[in-house]
Structure formats: C-alpha cells, structure tokens
Symmetry: C2
Subunit: 403 residues, 2 copies
Amino acid sequence: MPVVSQRGRNMPPSPVRKLAPFADAAKARGVEILHLNIGQPDLESPPAFWDAVRGSTLKTLEYGHASGLAELREEMAAYYRSIGISVDAAQVLVCTAGSEALNFALSACLEPGSEVIVPEPFYANYIGFATWFDGKVVPVPTRIEDDFALPSTQEFEARITPRTRAILINNPGNPTGTVFADRQLEELAELCASKDLWLISDEVYRDFNFSGRPIRSILQLDGLGDAGIMVDSVSKRYSLCGARVGFLVSRHADFNDATARLAMARLSPPTLEQLGVVAALRDTKPEYFEGLRAEYRSRKDLLVERLRAISGAVCPEIEGAFYAMVRLPIDDSDRFCQWLLEEFDHEGATVMLAPGTGFYATTGSGRDEVRIAYVLGKDRLIRAMDALEAALAVYPGAKVPTA
Amino acid sequence: MPVVSQRGRNMPPSPVRKLAPFADAAKARGVEILHLNIGQPDLESPPAFWDAVRGSTLKTLEYGHASGLAELREEMAAYYRSIGISVDAAQVLVCTAGSEALNFALSACLEPGSEVIVPEPFYANYIGFATWFDGKVVPVPTRIEDDFALPSTQEFEARITPRTRAILINNPGNPTGTVFADRQLEELAELCASKDLWLISDEVYRDFNFSGRPIRSILQLDGLGDAGIMVDSVSKRYSLCGARVGFLVSRHADFNDATARLAMARLSPPTLEQLGVVAALRDTKPEYFEGLRAEYRSRKDLLVERLRAISGAVCPEIEGAFYAMVRLPIDDSDRFCQWLLEEFDHEGATVMLAPGTGFYATTGSGRDEVRIAYVLGKDRLIRAMDALEAALAVYPGAKVPTA
C-alpha cells in the first residue's frame, strides 16, 4: 500500500477546527455551543453583496479570469489608493480568500527546507502553509506578561540563517491583537532589504483597530523596495468568510508573474462572490465600518473586563483584530477545550474555544492559553463568559490560584 | 532584492489562459472571439442551482465545514452509490473545484523530487500541480496517428523508478477524448498495487461519454486496495465552472486524514455554491444529462466532419469529454494561436484555440497540434470552423500539403 507524503503526514490539524467533531456531538446531545473558537463574525454581510448575488441574471456560471475579474481588481486598487497605498489593478491578484493568498505568497517565496520567521503566537495556519511547501516556521517568541509586545528587530535578525527566505507578520495580529508601530515596521523593512528577504504582511484585520494609531501597510514603507507582499481578504471586513474572496498585492514584477501562473493552474476564484464584492466595494458607506468598529470595541471592553475578573486568568491589552489570547488557570488547553464540549454545560450551553498550543511553533508554549474570538453579540458574549467562569470552577484540571 | 522560489519560476503558464491578453486586445479592436480554447460549457447551469442561490435567506455568509457541508457530502455519496461506486460521506472531501482536489491529491502523494506518470498529451495543469509540490510529470507518449490509443501497461511499468509515487489518468481524457477500457484499468490497478503506487483518476468528464462503453471508476476496481483516488467536479457536468465546487474521493484512511488537514489550512470551500449544488443534485432529472450528451455528441460529429475536410489536418476518433486534439498544417501552434488573435479575422470574428505544446511534457511534441473545446452551439461552431478554414488559407506559417 502506498504511503502519504511527508508533507501530508506533517500537516498540522487546525487548532480551530479539529474540535469540530466534539462540537457536533455536543449539539446532537442538545447542548448549545457558544462559538468563541473561530473568527467567524456574526454581523450581517453588506446588503449590496446580497443584492448583487440574488439579483444576478447569469444563466451559466462561468470561469472568471485566473487573476480575478477586471472590475474587482480595479475597485480594490482604487480602495487601496484611497487609504494611501499606491498600487494599480495589475498588482492586485484576486485569490480564493486570504488563505489562498497566503498559500501563493509562501509558494513563491519558500524553497523546500527553507524558513520563514514569524512572531509567536501567530495565526495557526501559517505553519500549515509553510508545511504545504516543505518549509519551516521559525518563531520569535513574545510573552503574555508583556501584552505580547512585538519582538525587537534584533530578535528577528538573530534568527536569520542562510535558509531564511521571508519574515511574515500579521498586523493587526491574530491571536494577540497587537498593532505594529511605524518604527517597528520601518526597522523590519530595513532588515529585510539588507538581507534580501521578503516581508509578507497579513493585513486582513485592518478595519479592526482600537490602538489609536493608524495601521501602516507594508506597501507604504520606504526602504523595502519591491520586497513587500500584502495579504488581504473580505472575510472579516465584510463578514464574508464563506465567500472565499481575498487578495495578494505586490509591486514585485517577478513575484506577480509567478503568482499569476500559480493562479492559472487553479483556473479562477468563485465568480459570483467576486461580483458581489464589487457591489459591496461600490456601495458600502464609511458608517458601515464605524458601526463595526464601535461594536467590536464594546465587545472587547466587555470581554477584557470579564476575563480580568477571573481569578488566575491573564488577559493582555488588545489593540486590534477581534481575538484575545488569554492565560487560564488550567493544566492543558487542548484537554480543557475538549472537556468543555464533551463533559460540560452551564444552563444548557457551553463555550467552544481554540486551544493555545496551535498558535505556537515552540513545543510546550500555549498549554495554559486559549484564543477567544469575540464574534458574538453582547448578550451571548455575557452568557459565554458566565459559562467559562462556571467551567473553571468545576474543571478537574483547574489550577488552584496560589495567591 | 529577494528572488522568487524555484517552484514559482518553474510554474508553467496555462496554455489555455496565457493568450488571454491577446484576446482582450482583439475584443478591444471590435473582433468577436469564438472561444474554443477553454472547457467552459455554454449550456445553462441547472435551474435548481440558481433557485437555491437566488432564494437564499442567509444574512451572514459564513465559513462552512473545512471538509464541505455535511448535506453535500451525503448527497454526493448517494450519487456515487447510484452509479455503482461504494463510498460513504466521510470518504468524500468537498474541494474548491477539481483544481483543488488535484492539488490536494498530489500534495498528499508526492515528495519533492518525486515523479507521477501520466499518459501524454494530458490536461496541462497536471504539470502545474506537480510543480506546485516540487514533483515531476513523467509522460507516457501516445500518438495522434493511433487516435491517441492509451499506452500499454508495459509502457507505464517501464517508466517506474524509485522516485515514482503515482500514476495519474484522466478518464474520459482531456484533451484526447479517450475512454479507458476495463481491462486497461484493471491492469493499471494491478501494476499500482504490486509497486505500492497511488492510482489517481480524474473523472470530471464522466457524463460526456460517446464510446458506447460505460465509464469505470477507479474506485470500482478490485485489486487496487485503497490506493485509488478519484478527482471529481461539478464544473463540466452542471456547467458550473465558476462555482468552484469539486470532490476528492478515496477509501484510504491515512490519505483522507492528510487531505482533511490540508483542507483545514484553507478553511472552507465557497458556502453558497455548495448549497446550490445540493439543490442541483436533488432536483436535476436524468433527462438533463441525456440532453447534454445528445447536444455534445452532435457538436462532436459536426466538428470531426469539418476538421477532416481540412487538407493536411488530422482529427482522431473522439470517445468522450468535449475536446478534440487536432493536427493542423501549421509551423508552430503557439505562433498560430497568437496570430489568430493578433492579425486575423473572418467576417469580424476569429477563433481562440489552445496551443498543443502545453499538453505535453515532452519538448517539441504538440507543435503542430491544437486543442479545440467544442463548447459552442452549432451555429457558432460552424462559424468557428469557417474562420479556422479561412485562417489556414492565409496563415503565413501554413504548411503546403505534400500530397
């Protein structure tokens, strides 16, 4: 019998999705699941998107252009210019969500056996996509005690080897919510330029910024030349996770040429949703985003307050995105998250969380941390926090605070 | 400045899509393009699909399950059982089109530097996906003079090396239209079983079969154990190329486990189209497929008759799919296909064809061949053949027949 490739064996399960069978079983028992495990916003997708999709008069759902519909590329380039990022439509590749944009970026940057440096904890699928191309994530640790403050440029530099091809950042960051300061970005740009490295920036949470500082895109940095690659998506911004529309933006001609050929191999992103996103881009008013930020900010404030009231829990400052990476008084976050689904309920409901370990490449890190996505309305978020508090009071692996 | 990965540099452009800029320029000049270059059916997608999509009452377009919506996996498993393929829903992974199913299959089978054996000419993107995983396509040549008769099992066996991981077939075949005989499949299955190789079968043209023999799925073969992997899609069957819904079907537990983890990394296939495909599966009548086969068969007959009337052209027998791989009296198919778009029109229209070279791994093969997708209604197909005839009469690189 043939065996699965090394890559296939090495692919990590998603820490966010591997618990799905336990959640299904809990639902089958009649337990309500309060989903804090996945970055699936509960807000409504823009009406303009739905109007375009439902009002479509297409008869045959055809392939689109491999690089994306021309009108979508134009609209996105205009949007980027409106926020100070100077690009043209030919530099915007439409991808099947930010996931594929990451996939293409790492495919075009990594060689088998090469390395990409990433601040840790990080979006779990960065390991998945590096593994996809037989590459390796080299983490730069940050600490919850320091509010996951971003590593100094020296700490990145110390991890550069002859195998390093890229530095990958996420700004604002999932799972930590940290927002890079301008000076940090400028130093990273200089470092990458001096070492001939790519600087890949995942900016899909741009609209979720509570830091008081503007989000600076990697494509706005002088001194980086054309080595900057930006990953973007409509999933979070427009609550369109299921649309699978994202973007890969770069000014590097060879990179764009390679990723256009990668795109040709998979033919095209979904056609109908691209038409819907064009409509959303044209018709969504600034108030949409103001409302969105106000809603998430008030959820964040509520969450932080509740978490900090839990004895033995550590909840850092959160500047952006819609996650909290939290330390809980537990023995093992994988065990705890599974236990919540298999053995616990509070008034008929339980919470689903993402175990912290999946967001670290460093073995042993994150064992007492969980990622919480605050993607529920306030009433449900309060019930979720009530359930979490009740769970910690009875969880057999709970740590008794030593204060 | 950093450089693009070897993989990125090696990715071939799609022979079907690389001419798109020339087609855009021709359209801008007011020339009508008769598209015979791409397997984009012109028939209407099933009404049940459109009704489900347009009638959707969703407010937030959410992620689906990474392995696909449960109801879609159930419906597909029931469909497979109805055509004699015994699988259950857990063995059907929903992918973002057949493209992703191929990508996952090769990812889970190939190591960097390993090889996959493929009868040649073949679907061009097989090279793309092998390159994606730093693998290599090893071709087994077939000849237009023999109607692209499939290679003997000995010819496959002769190409097996310690680096071989899989044999990949396409049944019915794109671009040749050949349909495997039962005995050929059984011999290949035995060969793969005896050498511990995967046997991957791309069966997306199952419903386009004019051979008079039933299409046998790789998953219906005894003697293969669980080493069979089937790639499937709704793109061609339902004229839903832009929906990006496909399937990867296998009974190999480790393979299914690995591909489920690959699927987690990219989160989920498009949600809305999966709901539409569930409706199409439930409500599409057998007459839909009978009508589809009758239409394509009559187009094929027309195409073959017209091509065989061209002096110096060779059009083989066509048993399935909706392509003809044809020899034309030309110097260079890449040059000819570009010239058709840049310098030719016949009564205001020109034809877009796929150059033959892209369907071969063997350098120099296919230089006087083109692939024609007969995806136009008869009136337009007749106009396309008129234009092709007229083009060959004036093309500067035309070969004068030596008969």
